[in-house]
């Protein structure tokens, strides 16, 4: 299904490009045999596009290079490019440790804004819609693909869960979590020299942090930033400072286990020794007198 729509889209894009030149030259007297391949998918031409259509047509004879892109759209394209670069730059610079949600959300929002602007069918000044000219004129559809990738990253990072409802700022939970994270980290910093002391001293704050994280996980208010920060902290705590639970009660566990394993042996031995064995009474079925049949067989084979 996805393939089909893509195909039809590509075909229609091709068609629109083709059609302009055709119409300009042949003025609708198109040879059907030539078009038959491309016209497989018909595309409704909206009447609103009429004037822009004509405009580009008139331009096309003068400037064959930028066939149908007007000035306004070029400007939009420029802005898109700038915002794209800013956002991508932000993403890369906060890639490790991951802090993209906290630092790049405003960039993303502005990028999204301009993308929405371009992709909407609304008419800009001069009654121009840049949607078709910028986004759907070729099979590459660069603007669409570029934005799509970044949007995917944003969605998989689940950044919206760390932001307030209107996506304008970081949510309160996030800020609170960051604060308690910093508290723990600073505690780690303080006792860096002695690990065993660190484990004791920072246990309370670390535990609080862990619980907070667990709560937020349940509420689905986590984004990649918090997850990554927590992962790093946990690794510090468990591996670098080696504060995870020690395995110290081996003896009681072994004792209880071996007691449990010992029980069936007693059970089977005692039932073997004390329980009376089940006996079966044999029955002698009625059979024909053996002598006659025996003789018969002997007759047969002798």
């Amino acid at each position: 299904m996805g393939l089909l729509t893509k195909c039809s889209c590509v075909v229609s894009c091709l068609f629109s490009g083709w059609a302009f030149s055709f119409i300009s030259i042949a003025n609708c007297s198109v040879d059907p045999s030539e078009l038959s391949v491309d016209v497989a998918v018909k595309r409704p031409v909206s009447p609103a596009r009429g004037p822009g259509f004509l405009h580009s047509l008139s331009l096309s004879s003068a400037f064959p290079d930028d066939l149908e892109v007007n000035e306004y759209c070029m400007k939009m394209l420029h802005i898109y490019g700038e915002r794209y670069v800013t956002y991508a730059n932000c993403l890369v610079s906060y890639a490790r440790p991951v802090k993209v949600c906290q630092n790049c959300y405003s960039d993303f929002i502005s990028l999204k804004e301009i993308y929405t602007n371009i992709s909407s069918d609304q008419l800009g000044p001069g009654n121009v819609s840049c949607h078709d000219s910028l986004m759907r004129s070729d099979r590459l559809m660069l603007l669409y693909t570029l934005f799509n990738k970044l949007d995917e990253i944003w969605i998989s990072a689940e950044c919206t869960q760390c932001l307030t409802g209107d996506q304008e700022a970081l949510s309160n939970e996030t800020v609170y979590f960051m604060a308690s994270l910093n508290q723990s980290l600073s505690c780690f910093q303080q006792h860096q020299s002695n690990h065993s002391e660190l484990c004791k001293a920072c246990k309370a704050s670390y535990k609080r942090l862990n619980e907070l994280y667990g709560r937020m996980e349940k509420n689905q208010t986590l984004c990649i930033d918090l997850e990554d920060a927590m992962n790093v902290t946990r690794r510090l705590w468990s591996i670098n400072y080696n504060c995870s639970m020690p395995r110290e009660e081996t003896v009681p566990v072994i004792a209880v286990s071996s007691f449990m394993l010992f029980l069936p042996i007693i059970f089977y031995l005692s039932s073997f020794l004390h329980s009376e064995q089940k006996k079966r009474k044999l029955i002698h079925p009625k059979r024909a007198k053996s002598s006659s049949s025996l003789m018969n067989i002997q007759d047969k084979f002798s």
């Binding site: 927590m230 946990r234 286990s257 089977y268 009474k281 059979r287 053996s290």
Partner: protein
């Protein structure tokens, strides 16, 4: 020449020792036995038979007096099992009823059959749904409790208390289930597949298709799965489906004493059998989400009676059951109308890019199959010994309950110890595929990998073994897990709890299959792309299950359907084939072993090889208790109440003068019919008064079905004993007969194909010489050194 000598020798043995002192073949004195039947045989063959008799007689006397009672072993036939009457009795009543029935009546019957099949599917699906939800809720609650406890004690110390808590919880669940099974309905124990197999084969297993059995079964399964035993809930579904079918098709329940006055026409063994096979298919379908597999299962296990219309109806029942389960589960999962979880076990789907397999992998699959066959044979062998021990020594209900509880406690202990000492920590998955991740001593944010396999219901463990990405399991974890679970599963099957063996086998196989896959990718690191551990886990699971239960066609289709993947059809088939061939070389399938241990007179596909020289004369029982056409009531009552000869079918003969002279056969009458006749006092002397009463109809026989009252409950006064009874109208006037010279395989074929219960052996003047029943045929089987004979025993 040698062949003939062997024959003579065998018959000599059969007459002299096999028959008159059958105990020589018993298991008590293995050496003695082998010496006689093995080495002695050819020797005897060369001697004359007269010599032989003289040689043996003194020994024989001793043995006879010593071995009146023998311990239970697998070479016995129990008297408690009877045949089902699959052969329709075409007596006059039947013909009358058929004449009365209009064309429309027959149409209605056909429609009713379809309605019943739909109902069977519906109720089976519903039961599957109830089991699924109950297990999920109970197990979820248990794991939540234990997990919380473990987390608490990991921090503060005292993990041995968590261990005890887990063991006690497990034991408590299992105790409740085991009490229900051991004290209320022992037949509900185990997976129920052997019992259904016997039923479809034509053996009447007492109480196997009662409502009480169903209730205990469902309850028991929920308890044993929630109790964390190494069991699955799939096998019992097949039994449940069969009970549902038997109940629905009769339109009444004798346990509840409720008669809906529906479907009275189907109150016969013949009709019931067809519905039971539909029920079994519906059960498989609900258990695995495999409707076609269900139909093929019925075909494979009970296929001696089969026709096309029946197949189509059974398929309908399967589909309805699968759909019903689907529908109700979708409501439970709060996505009503989404019909995408077709079975109790959901193996999940294999991604399209991992399902590839290449030509050079086929030898690897065959190796896996052989491995599965070996391990399956080992499983069966160990379980066989254990079951013999259980039958001999652990036969009291309270002991059985204790045993089940102990197994539950030990299962919990072993699981806990494995988890406790495992150092295999894995990071938590992004998609939270682990339902109950246990951290224990792992670093924060990681979980104990051993716990995913042990601290979970077995179904989920199977799924994670199939689908978790490579690198999720450590080879050592898998190896230790396989070993531990193998032993636990061997120990668990055969306990007095209702539980199936499908899932544990799949789990064991998936574990070692995955291990196999991991080792492959280690050996060939540059080609690790094809060695997807999930694929090998699936093959291992198929091999292990095939090695244990030895099903072929139906298992292939079930696995293909359950994984929703036709690509693996060929490899799965290869694996199952190899597993069966290798396994059969060592020991029979698990279900066949259990059927044998229960001393059921089961008829296999074919008569034992090299038995053509045995004729009906040697096989039959004689002398036969016959009735005259018009018989004295007193004689009938005496014969019926004789407990030592618990006969069920009586040839009816023309009046004979002499006592020793056998009469000419003119019909066959069954004990159940006689009892109904006695109950209604259909005596010749009362014929005049009977004219006023209504005439006895086939309906009266059906109303008494299937639990005919015992003869003791029927009161016959002294006067009535002198009355006469005319059997002409009620007997089957055309019973099957064979001449005395008919060979055993020929008789066997008649029994197997027609579902006979009694076969009269006549001489050339149609005089009754003997009677062949199922037990007379089932006692012959191929042993290690030729044809052996099983003994009849009372139990």
């Amino acid at each position: 020449m040698a062949n003939i000598a062997k024959k003579v020798s065998w018959s000599g043995r059969g007459e002299d020792r096999g028959e008159r002192t059958p105990l020589l073949n018993g298991a008590e004195d293995g050496k003695y036995n082998r010496k006689l039947s093995g080495g002695g045989m050819f020797h005897i063959g060369r001697l004359s038979t007269v010599d032989l008799e003289e040689e043996i007689t003194p020994e024989e006397e001793i043995v006879r007096s010593r071995l009146k009672e023998i311990p239970h072993n697998e070479k016995l036939l129990s008297l408690k099992f009877e045949s089902l009457d699959y052969d329709n009795s075409e007596n006059q009543l039947f013909l009358e009823e058929e004449r009365r029935m209009s064309h429309m009546g027959f149409r209605c019957l056909e429609i009713r059959r379809w309605v019943i099949c739909g109902l069977i599917g519906f109720f089976t699906g519903l039961i599957a749904c109830v089991i699924d939800i109950a297990v999920e809720v109970l197990a979820g609650y248990k794991y939540f409790l234990v997990k919380q406890n473990i987390e608490k004690f990991t921090e503060h110390g005292g993990l041995s208390i968590s261990l005890i808590l887990w063991a006690v919880l497990n034991s408590a669940f299992v105790m409740v289930g085991a009490i229900a099974v051991a004290f209320i309905e022992p037949i509900a124990g185990g997976s129920g597949i052997p019992q259904i197999k016997c039923y479809l084969n034509g053996v009447k297993i007492p109480r196997v298709v009662r409502l009480k059995t169903l209730v205990v079964k469902v309850f028991g399964v929920i308890c044993s799965v929630a109790g964390g035993l190494a069991v699955g809930k799939e096998g019992p579904m097949i039994h449940s489906g069969a009970v549902v079918a038997a109940g629905v098709s009769q339109g009444r329940s004798t346990s509840l004493k409720k008669d809906f006055k529906m479907f009275e026409y189907f109150r016969r063994d013949t009709e019931k059998r067809d519905f039971v096979s539909a029920g079994a298919a519906a059960g498989v379908s609900a258990a695995f989400g495999a409707p076609v597999g269900g139909v093929l299962f019925s075909l494979e296990e009970g296929a001696s009676f089969w026709n096309q219309m029946l197949t189509w109806r059974i398929f309908f029942a399967s589909m309805v059951s699968s759909f019903t389960l689907n529908f109700f589960l979708s409501i439970y999962n709060k996505k009503p109308g989404e019909l995408s979880s077709p079975g109790l076990i959901n193996f999940g789907r294999f991604d399209s890019d991992t399902v590839k397999y290449t030509l050079f992998e086929i030898p690897l699959f065959i190796i896996i199959g052989a491995l599965g066959g070996l391990l399956g044979a080992l499983f069966n062998l160990l379980n066989n010994w254990l079951t013999i021990f259980r039958i001999r020594y652990v036969h009291r209900p309270c002991l059985q309950v204790m045993e089940a509880m102990l197994v539950a406690a030990v299962t919990a202990t072993v699981s806990f110890a494995m988890i406790y000492f495992s150092n295999d920590c894995q990071p938590l998955g992004q998609d939270h595929s682990e339902e109950y991740p246990l951290q224990l001593f792992c670093a924060d944010g990681e979980y104990n990998a051993m716990a995913t396999t042990f601290f979970n219901t077995p179904e989920r463990s199977v799924r994670s073994l199939f689908h978790n990405p490579p690198g999720t399991y450590n080879p050592v974890t898998l190896g230790v897990f396989t070993l531990a679970y193998f032993l636990l599963a061997v120990w668990t099957y055969g306990l007095a709890v209702s539980a199936g063996v499908f899932i544990p086998s799949l789990l064991i196989g998936a574990a070692w299959g995955r291990l196999f896959g991991i080792l492959l990718s280690v050996i060939a690191p540059n080609q690790s792309m094809w060695a997807d551990p999930g694929k090998y886990a699936l093959m291992g699971a198929a091999a292990q299950l095939g090695g244990i239960v030895r099903m072929t066609l139906s298992l292939t289709v079930i696995l293909v359907e359950a994984t929703g993947n036709v690509t693996y059809g060929f490899p799965i088939m290869l694996v199952l084939m190899t597993a069966k061939i290798v396994g059969d070389y060592f020991v029979e399938g698990l279900y066949d072993l259990h059927i044998k241990l229960q001393s059921v007179p089961f008829l296999h596909w074919e008569a034992p090889a090299t038995s053509h020289w045995l004729t009906a004369r040697e096989v039959m029982s004689s002398a036969v208790t016959c009735f005259n056409r018009v018989e004295k009531v007193g004689t009938i009552v005496d014969v019926l109440s004789n407990t030592s000869t618990n006969h069920n079918g009586f040839p009816v003969v023309t009046h004979t003068t002499g006592h020793d002279e056998p009469g000419k056969i003119c019909g066959l009458i069954l004990r159940s019919q006689l009892i109904v006749l006695l109950k209604h006092k259909v005596f010749v002397e009362r014929a005049s008064s009977r004219l006023i009463q209504r005439k006895l109809q086939l309906k009266d026989f059906r109303d008494a079905y299937p639990r005919f009252p015992p003869i003791q409950s029927i009161h016959v006064s002294q006067d009535e004993r002198e009355c006469m009874m005319d059997l002409t109208e009620f007997m089957n006037p055309t019973p099957y007969t064979v001449p005395q010279e008919t060979s055993l395989p020929r008789v066997f074929k008649l029994f197997r194909a027609l579902g006979l219960r009694h076969l009269v052996v006549v001489d050339n003047e149609n005089r009754v010489m003997g009677l062949v029943t199922r037990k007379d045929l089932a006692r012959y089987h191929m042993g290690k050194d030729g044809l052996e004979e099983l003994h009849l025993a009372q139990m």
